[in-house]
Symmetry: none
Subunit: 231 residues, 2 copies
DNA sequence: AGCAACATTCAGGTTTCTCACAGGTTCACG
DNA sequence: CGTGAACCTGTGAGAAACCTGAATGTTGCT
């Protein structure tokens, strides 16, 4: 099967490399460039399935890049990246069709989740399922809904991301630093105690509805989502 | 079959040698260097399957090394080593994909276990199974779960590491100093009586569930895990 | 501005783990 | 058998890891 091709466009080398390697690890074929002109050239040649595009580029705006691409009949969906305080009005107008946007700083897992979501919408062929189900817990990634034994529960964004990461790696111990790196934004600078807090929040919401606790503490190692039998 | 290649990067010669010889003995092909520049060169030439990388290096930080490698499209997963009290800011955000990190001081067996865990996750082909089973006892290395005749038991981290080491060398006598070297952190400074204590702890948890004792004392030599028939 | 939801830090309390010690037991050997 | 060395294991102090409620910031919304 062909790997899915992604074109990464960002002028900050740190971010570009972070994205490139993270996406490669996730199984995508990645081409990364640092400005709008290169992006147009690369998109024409490479025929990517999706473009990850920083809005602020040295030579031209992400908006111009997209317009140019579309005029060249390159219709790959675009996931825009933008600083949190950049004017959002401009962006909302941009996201037509399958496009979407995210603010920096982001968490890697969140980027990957969005990419998969877009690909699901555009390519029906896309393999990824939108539902993660482990034991008594089910996540609908498209709707961001979480069900425990068919009963829906409400989670905050961070709680949701944490649960998703733990469930993607069910029955495998994850260290607190791994969790921090995958779930929190890349510039998060705090202590690992926050992982403990959020595990605590999740337990408070999950445990009343499961037959046995699903989030296990592996003392000295980290945490693990344990798949349990359904009720 | 090709041996798995590991690049060890640490500036302290003691640690470097400890790692290199320990990993060679475990069957890996090892290349060891002492600074970031050599690491980049060696990684480019040697194409290692995994990089064991100290975060604090004389010439450049592990972060820079990784960045450089990733930008050169060298995607080998990295297991970071860091002093326990190093500022955590520096290490968060490092792990992408299958990466992980460990604090110094470590135990040799723990390093090997983590390396195998990463290789399992990144290379599907990786030979190693995540389950060690000898007689009536089974360890799931990914989950850190231990079962005796299908009944799960709880072990402390040290108990777990000791049991794993004994089972990896089942039916072979291990001296108390061998056990200390493999299971305890390399700077452990206590007496060998601690091994006796932990063997005792393990027996108390294992023996009630096995048909006959699995941990045998070889007076004057050490201890041995004896594989028994299942119940 | 004011509110509500969420994110983060902090600190006290609790559990669990590590390790040393010491008295008791077993074993090998004379 | 008697003796010393090796081994076993209960006890407890101290440390580390963890949990959680509460206080404090942040953010976005109306």
């Amino acid at each position: 099967m062909e790997p899915i091709k992604i074109l990464v466009v960002d002028d900050e080398p740190n971010i570009r490399d972070l994205l490139a390697s993270g996406l490669r690890f996730a199984g995508f074929s990645v081409l990364a460039v640092g400005n709008g002109n290169d992006a147009v050239v690369a998109a024409e040649k490479g025929n990517p399935d999706l473009i990850l595009l920083d809005v602020m580029l040295p030579d031209m705006s992400g908006f111009s890049v997209t317009k140019k691409l579309r005029s060249m009949n390159i219709l790959a969906p675009v996931l825009f990246l933008t600083a949190r305080d950049e004017v959002e009005d401009k962006i909302t107008g941009l996201t037509v069709g399958g496009d979407d946007y995210m603010t920096k700083p982001f968490s890697l897992d969140e980027i990957i989740a969005r990419i998969n979501a877009i690909l699901r919408r555009t390519k029906q062929s896309a393999v990824e399922k939108s539902v993660i189900e482990v034991g008594e817990v089910r996540i609908d990634e498209d709707a961001h809904d979480v069900y425990v034994n068919d009963q829906q529960i409400e989670l905050s964004p961070t709680e949701y991301k944490l649960l998703r990461y733990l469930m993607e790696n069910a029955n495998r111990v994850l260290s607190k630093s791994q969790i921090l790196d995958h779930v929190w934004e890349y510039d998060f600078n705090g202590e690992m105690g926050i992982v403990e807090s959020y595990v605590s929040y999740l337990r408070k919401k999950l445990d009343p509805l499961t037959s046995e606790p699903v989030l296990q503490t592996k003392r000295g190692h980290g945490y693990m989502f344990k798949s349990t039998k359904k009720k």
